[in-house]
Symmetry: C2
Subunit: 478 residues, 2 copies
């Protein structure tokens, strides 16, 4: 049998890959045209094309229409990964609220670089198409969405969510779904349905401050579990805590977590679900980024492996289509009645018209088309951000390598306090999310979360450079 | 000084009023033309017109364009008022949830008469104008409402709410307002901000089941206070409970309550606020019907008299414009930070685009125009409903006389159980809200709530007649 790399196209691909990995070719460099490849290597056009296809599938290069092939990836972007996190076992409710408000109250201001933003920038969202969808919805939805929607939510939307769930090999019907006013609202109903004051919820660490605040306001203790920047929550730590009977409920971001960017491997998901079933502990699964994968297919969810109805799978279109529409959902498994009651008693129903617009968007090929573009842009941005961080940030800086989403986690040298760095960078109208707000403990002071879901341009690169310089200055103070 | 009734126009008006009150003239009867009045009484056209103006201002007659004057009111519609309610002092959490679901799960079905509906019917709402507003909003709102709104809510909308509050002699600025996803959602944030499990909230009785369910799901005890169908909550009972230190927070529907239809007189509002200030107990004021008054001006709110910031004034456009838009608000007084935190932690923000549409609607004269029509229709319907109940329902039936809103409370003879009546009427596709769901105690079994905010037509009259006949049949069983 002929070894694969002996094929002509593989030989060519290997050469180019080496040049990319060695840094000879850098992100954005134009590659030789197909004709040049044919001439230089003495191969057919088909073979040249196969070589480039192969490199594209490895996300090393990209095609630009009417322009040719370009390098997407380069050696220098491969930053070291942050260490697995290892928070203290006991959560201590330090006061991070003021920091959050400080960062997010500045966010709306004109001219500010919104690296702290929790969603992709407007420029990456299909606003014109959504507006058209609104017009259609006023015609197609009975009463133009002026009347109360059902508590369970728009049926057309729920049928689409069920249809899309096939991509992660889940198989639930529309009547197992309850729509909500965005994903946080879904988490809120689940938490209120499953917990009482004094209970403990286990989460990854670091974790989205929204989830910490929700637990805090409900009087729920948070157990922050050590987590790996690649594979997410540490299952051994989870098992130990379960054995000790410490956990009432879990709340994990299974795919492209916020802020680490980690994605639980399928095997881990399966194992986590099995563990939780063993201890009869429900899992609220926050899967709001799953559709924004950079690999070949959508990662599965924990819900995929749920046989006991213990997983409450939550999602939304806030990170892919329209945060301001407030359209999310939950598939609460065996807790459906409890969650439905929460929605009914706290809200009656969700906004009717925006649900209908999203239903229409999901029904056609528009969502798939949009996602394809969005993934492509976000992955490109991630590589550009990684390169900029490698080029401009202090030596020793580490960054996560998310395989999806729009959020990355950066660990600066220990001496730098990112809250102080924030105070300085905001004077230059550069905002970001300091690491300290992603925990209730005194940790992650030298970390920060960046949103790479912005429109890449020269100003953005200049601002990242400036941020890196400010960080270097902080370092010199010691 | 000449006595007013000596004026010629007053003499004529008195004669016609007598004919109406004696039942000689009945609802819907055509009145003599102005020319006939001039001839019969030997008066000028102006005098005849003044007489009809006077009767119109007393809501006894109405003009129909190109048709003439008609009787709006008749003796037989003056039903006895239900007694002041007097619930037991201790709330007992009976299980009314199944009843509520039974009634409201049927509500959406085609061909059903939705007398149980909690909002005016779609036909009374300005759907076409709101749709136009949506188109405008996609153009005027930055990012077409795709991005997250501020936690506090749409500023343009908050400025309009502040402007409209002048009508009830309140004087707060837009930055004291937080928008919410409808009024129940505002109540939910307030309750979560002010109470903890085991606390007690005082409400009128009977009271909207939504408010009971909210308290129940939060683990808050409900103290149901005796209430008068005209003037609302009994202030003596309130004072006694306050003295006993039984109340942590109050939750009143001050204007055109649900389901009684009562309206606290201004003097009662003032006194209630003074009492609560004395005992330092906050009042969550649900004022979602205040704009739908049938009298000369909008009733004031408790907030009007609030000097300590203890009143959290809640409202929405769910009963006047668009329940499905989920646009409401709260002016939380001194609890602003706490309420803002609840919204931020449970929901992030409200749907952006529907807030903008409502802001546009309130900014122009459209809202005032719409309200004028809505009030006129609702008041007319109330009179027609009252007449139909007097004509068709069992002898001894009593009904409330709301001075605004779209909800009336009907008390049937004691022997009738309205849950059983419901089972029978729903087979004829006639739904209504049985009295039992408006309390946590075993009370109001012979009562029901009707929504008169429907399109009046012959079918509706036939259905009310049928409902009356079914009630009479129930009575005969004993």
């Amino acid at each position: 049998m002929k070894v694969k790399s002996d094929f002509a196209y593989m030989r060519i691909a290997k050469v180019i890959e080496q040049q990319i990995l060695s840094g000879t070719l850098r992100t954005g460099d134009k590659l030789p045209s197909l004709r040049t490849i044919c001439r230089e290597y003495g191969v057919s056009q088909n073979t040249a094309l196969s070589a480039y296809y192969h490199l594209e599938s490895k996300m090393l290069i990209e095609t630009r229409p009417q322009s040719g092939y370009y390098v997407r990836y380069s050696k220098t972007t491969i930053l070291s990964l942050p260490q697995i996190t290892n928070p203290d076992a006991s959560a201590n409710y330090a006061h991070s609220e003021l920091m959050v408000r400080k960062v997010y109250d500045n966010l709306g201001e004109d001219g500010h670089l919104p690296l702290a933003l929790g969603t992709p920038a407007n420029e990456l969202l299909p606003i014109a198409k959504l507006n058209k969808g609104l017009m259609v919805a006023t015609r197609e939805l009975k009463g133009s969405g002026v009347a109360y929607d059902k508590t369970e939510g728009n049926e057309r939307l729920r049928r689409q969510i069920a249809r899309w769930s096939f991509a992660m090999e889940c198989n639930f019907s529309h009547d197992e779904i309850i729509t909500t006013s965005g994903c946080l609202n879904a988490l809120s109903y689940c938490m209120m349905a499953l917990t009482k004051r004094g209970d403990t919820v286990a989460m990854e660490s670091p974790i989205s401050f929204g989830m910490l605040q929700l637990a805090q306001v409900l009087g729920i203790k948070v157990l922050e579990l050590p987590s790996d920047p690649q594979s997410g929550v540490d299952l051994n730590a989870l098992e130990d805590a379960l054995k000790d009977g410490k956990i009432n409920v879990c709340l994990f971001i299974s795919n492209f977590s916020n802020p680490l960017g980690s994605c639980m491997p399928d095997e881990n998901k399966k194992q986590a679900v099995r563990l939780l079933a063993e201890y009869n502990v429900p899992l609220i699964e926050n899967d709001l980024n799953g559709d924004v994968y950079f690999g070949q297919q959508r990662p599965k969810s924990c819900k995929t492996y749920d046989e006991c109805g213990l997983v409450l799978w939550c999602g939304s279109v806030s990170k892919t289509l329209a945060p301001g529409y407030r359209v999310g959902w939950v598939v609460p498994g065996k807790f459906k009645d409890e969650v439905r009651r929460m929605k009914s008693y706290h809200n009656i129903s969700s906004t009717a018209i925006t649900q209908e617009v999203i239903a229409g968007f999901l029904e056609t090929g528009r969502y798939e088309n949009h996602l394809r573009k969005l993934r492509h842009t976000l992955h490109g941005n991630l590589l550009k951000f990684s390169r900029a961080i490698a080029d401009y940030f202090p030596e020793g800086t580490m960054a996560s390598r998310p395989q999806g989403g729009f959020i990355m986690w950066v660990e600066l040298p220990r001496a730098i306090d990112t809250m102080e760095l924030y105070e300085k960078s905001i004077r230059h109208k550069i905002g970001f999310a300091p690491g300290r707000i992603f925990t209730l403990q005194n940790r992650y002071e030298n970390c920060l979360r960046l949103n790479y879901g912005l429109l890449w341009n020269e100003k953005l690169e200049r601002d990242l450079k400036l941020l890196g310089e400010l960080a270097k200055k902080e370092l010199k103070r010691f």
